[in-house]
């Protein structure tokens, strides 16, 4: 089984508490996206297209759905005899066991898993981001630089740089400093949460880090600064495609609107970089005689009698006659009655919106509205 060029460790244990109702019963990587996907599909499909055949998926928070969804990895062509997908929840060993305390701890607890493959490099990614990336290019760059670690970065607008982990680099893109959410950013190169490590080097830092009781066992907060302090050779790899952290209701909504924007670089139709998903089986969508659908993505199994504008509808969504949906995201299995108005909202899985209901942001805030799992919305709201 040993001696792989590289393997990936996909961090999928995050709660995503800022997604409110959406993550009450499932982990953030399992949140529905784009009408038929879950957020984790992007990272998994990237692995497949980049030729990575071994992926450890680290789960912890509300793992049932995610575990079942990833399954044996077949949807992503990752059902392999040697390697493939392994779901890795926290476990008990001879000397006890404990929850994954931080991102670095999660990987540390799976040292044995990684060592089975004796990989030269380990790619650490998260299941929280929407992006299509060829990790091969990152690997090539990493090898060329002879780096101990290469961190993928993306240029963000300067005024937003204080929301990200920022890499300060020299002229050769060698990382000289890492700042988590700096007040006065010196660079606008934000970490994408995509790290490629030389495994031998990372392993020694993970072991060291475990012995430090003060450490929070986090890649960003502990491992990267420690490696930089020790003068490790670390490079920033500039990625210039679409990348979005969909950690908030607003950003999740924005990413969906990007799907509908012809000028956006986020597309789902690239035949060479399809996003694979665990496909539930649904009939074609039915568009009735009185329906009107424009500037929208609609998935299979949906039955549309109303008006849909600039929205994303997932599978098994029913929209009754006389209803209007504008600038919204409708997640799977939602039933919308007749004469409903929904504007700038995310309607979460299984919700039932009764006839005549009106869901739109308040005039003052204009914030995207979220209706959570299985809520029943009646007309008096």
């Amino acid at each position: 089984m040993g001696n792989k060029k590289w393997i990936a460790m996909l961090l999928a244990g995050g709660q995503g508490s800022r997604l409110g109702e959406l993550t009450h019963q499932l982990a953030k990587p399992a949140v529905s996206f784009g009408g038929k996907y879950r957020i984790i599909d992007f990272a998994l499909s990237n692995c497949t297209h980049s030729g990575i055949d071994t992926v450890g998926v680290l789960t912890q928070y509300q793992p049932h759905l995610l575990n079942a969804y990833v399954g044996n990895g077949r949807a992503w062509d990752l059902d392999r005899n040697c390697g493939g997908v392994s779901v890795l929840p926290p476990y008990q060993g001879k000397t006890g066991g404990h929850w994954y305390e931080g991102t670095a701890d999660a990987v540390y607890q799976n040292l044995q898993f990684i060592d089975q493959y004796d990989p030269e490099n380990v790619l650490v990614i998260s299941g929280d981001h929407i992006y299509k990336m060829d990790y091969n290019k990152l690997l090539k760059y990493h090898m060329k630089q002879g780096a101990h670690a290469t961190i993928a970065v993306i240029q963000v607008p300067w005024h937003e740089a204080n929301r990200f982990g920022i890499m300060n680099t020299d002229n050769e893109d060698k990382i000289i400093e890492f700042e988590e959410k700096p007040m006065n950013p010196k660079s606008n190169l934000a970490s994408m949460g995509v790290y490629l490590f030389n495994w031998k080097v990372l392993k020694s830092y993970l072991i060291q880090d475990q012995q430090n009781p003060a450490s929070s066992n986090d890649f960003g907060k502990d491992i990267i600064p420690k490696m930089l302090g020790a003068g490790s050779s670390m490079y920033a790899y500039r990625f210039d495609g679409y990348w979005k952290d969909v950690g908030t209701i607003q950003s999740l909504w924005e990413a969906h609107m990007d799907l509908l924007d012809a000028n956006s670089t986020l597309t789902l139709t690239d035949p060479n970089w399809q996003i694979y998903a665990g496909n539930p089986n649904h009939p074609p969508q039915y568009i009735s005689a009185e329906a009107e659908v424009k500037q929208s993505l609609v998935n299979e199994g949906s039955i549309i009698y109303g008006k849909i504008r600039h929205s994303v509808l997932s599978y098994n969504v029913q929209v009754g006659a006389g209803s209007t949906i504008i600038d919204s995201v409708i997640m799977p299995n939602v039933t919308i009655g007749e004469n409903v108005i929904i504007e700038k909202a995310i309607i979460s899985n299984n919700a039932v919106i009764e006839d005549g209901a009106v869901i739109r942001p308040s005039k003052e805030s204009g914030d995207v509205i979220l209706y959570g799992d299985s809520q029943r919305i009646s007309s008096h709201i």
Partner: protein, 368 residues
């Protein structure tokens, strides 16, 4: 109830869909936006827990083999049982009939632990509950149960159907081969339930006597020596026997009650999964009364049509009363009406194709 073996018999197919069956067998003709005809039978088998299925193919089977793969989509990749594709074993010789083909693969039947066999031609667009058929077969202590449906629809152009005479006890007293059925006449759906042992016996005996036709030599010839019962299928099922009826059978799927009955009120219908994105409707799109599959990009007008996966309809294009199969493309400003477009066909910018009473068929990969 013992275990049941499913047999999909593609030997007697008649290629009456012209261009659509030029390169593929009937069973793999695309239908209703994302399916192939064989999906209906396979899904019905799975619903009845028939998990060992043999597909006896004759010719032009690349398409059906590609579609079926390992059988995974129908849960037929099993350690025990699963999917078996059985092509003719003497490809150079003309097959004398389905019984010869069954005989060539007799070991398949002999080795199976099943006690009952369901045989279906794999091309009916129906949701038959085989559990019910098998239960009736056993309750009636029938040797053979013949599934039939009362004919409906326009008169057939060619005598492709066999009709049954049935007495008031449900016994099949005669089978008329190759007829033009009138509405209400019992059309044999070439779907049978039979015990495995009896099937093996009939196959062996017929072939020894130089008889090779299942329906003629095994069923019809034994109507008086065996207990042959009938099962009347009363559910939805368009009779497909011509390009015309194929078109209208598809169009049935634009009726909400038909959509509900096939897709939502009965068991799931499985097919090969493609990883297509959701369908995108552009700003200039006007789609109504249509069935649309994933992966489509629609910028034009679509009315009263069935659009398969990955079809592109450019701005200014108009599609009416048509069926566009996988990866078709309708150029800007083009107009099509009453058309069946096979896979990957393309209509050029501003071209017009209008079918008459008979829909126009555009061949696979053809460009107009």
């Amino acid at each position: 109830m013992g275990s049941v073996l499913g047999v999909i018999n593609l030997i007697n197919e008649k290629p009456f869909l012209k261009e659509l069956t030029q390169h593929r067998c009937m069973a793999s003709v695309p239908f209703a936006g994302r399916y192939r005809l064989i999906d209906f039978t396979l899904s019905n088998f799975i619903n009845a827990s028939i998990t060992k299925v043999a597909v006896f193919t004759k010719d032009k089977y690349r398409s059906v083999m590609d579609h079926l793969g390992s059988g995974k989509e129908w849960d037929l990749d099993r350690r025990n049982g699963g999917l078996f594709i059985l092509p003719p074993i003497h490809p150079d010789e003309r097959l004398k009939g389905d019984l010869e083909h069954f005989h060539d693969h007799l070991e398949f039947f002999q080795r199976s632990h099943a006690d009952t066999v369901v045989i279906s031609p794999g091309l009916h667009v129906s949701k038959i509950d085989y559990n019910e058929v098998i239960a009736q077969h056993k309750a009636e202590q029938a040797d053979i149960t013949v599934v039939y449906k009362d004919y409906q629809g326009d008169p057939v152009e060619k005598p492709v159907y066999h009709t049954c005479s049935i007495d008031d006890k449900g016994t099949v007293t005669d089978i008329q081969l190759y007829t033009y059925p009138m509405p209400g006449e019992a059309v044999c759906l070439e779907t049978f339930v039979i015990s495995k042992d009896l099937l093996i016996e009939l196959i062996t005996k017929c072939v020894e006597n130089g008889e090779y036709d299942l329906i003629k030599d095994a069923v019809k010839a034994n109507l008086h020596s065996l207990r042959v019962k009938s099962y009347k299928f009363t559910g939805e099922m368009p009779f497909i026997h011509s390009v015309d009826s194929f078109h209208s059978g598809n169009m049935e799927f634009l009726k909400p009650e038909i959509v509900r009955s096939y897709f939502y009120e009965t068991w799931d219908l499985y097919t090969k999964v493609k990883h297509e994105a959701p369908a995108y409707y552009g700003a200039s799109s006007r789609t109504s009364y249509s069935l649309i599959a994933n992966g489509c990009e629609i910028e034009g007008v679509v009315e009263n049509s069935i659009i398969f996966r990955g079809v592109k309809i450019h701005p200014g294009a108009v599609v009416k009363n048509s069926i566009i199969m996988q990866k078709g493309e309708i150029g800007p400003g083009a107009y099509i009406e009453n058309v069946i477009m096979d896979k990957q066909a393309r209509i050029k910018e501003n071209a017009t194709v209008v079918g008459g009473l008979q829909p126009v068929v555009i061949k696979k990969e053809e460009i107009i």
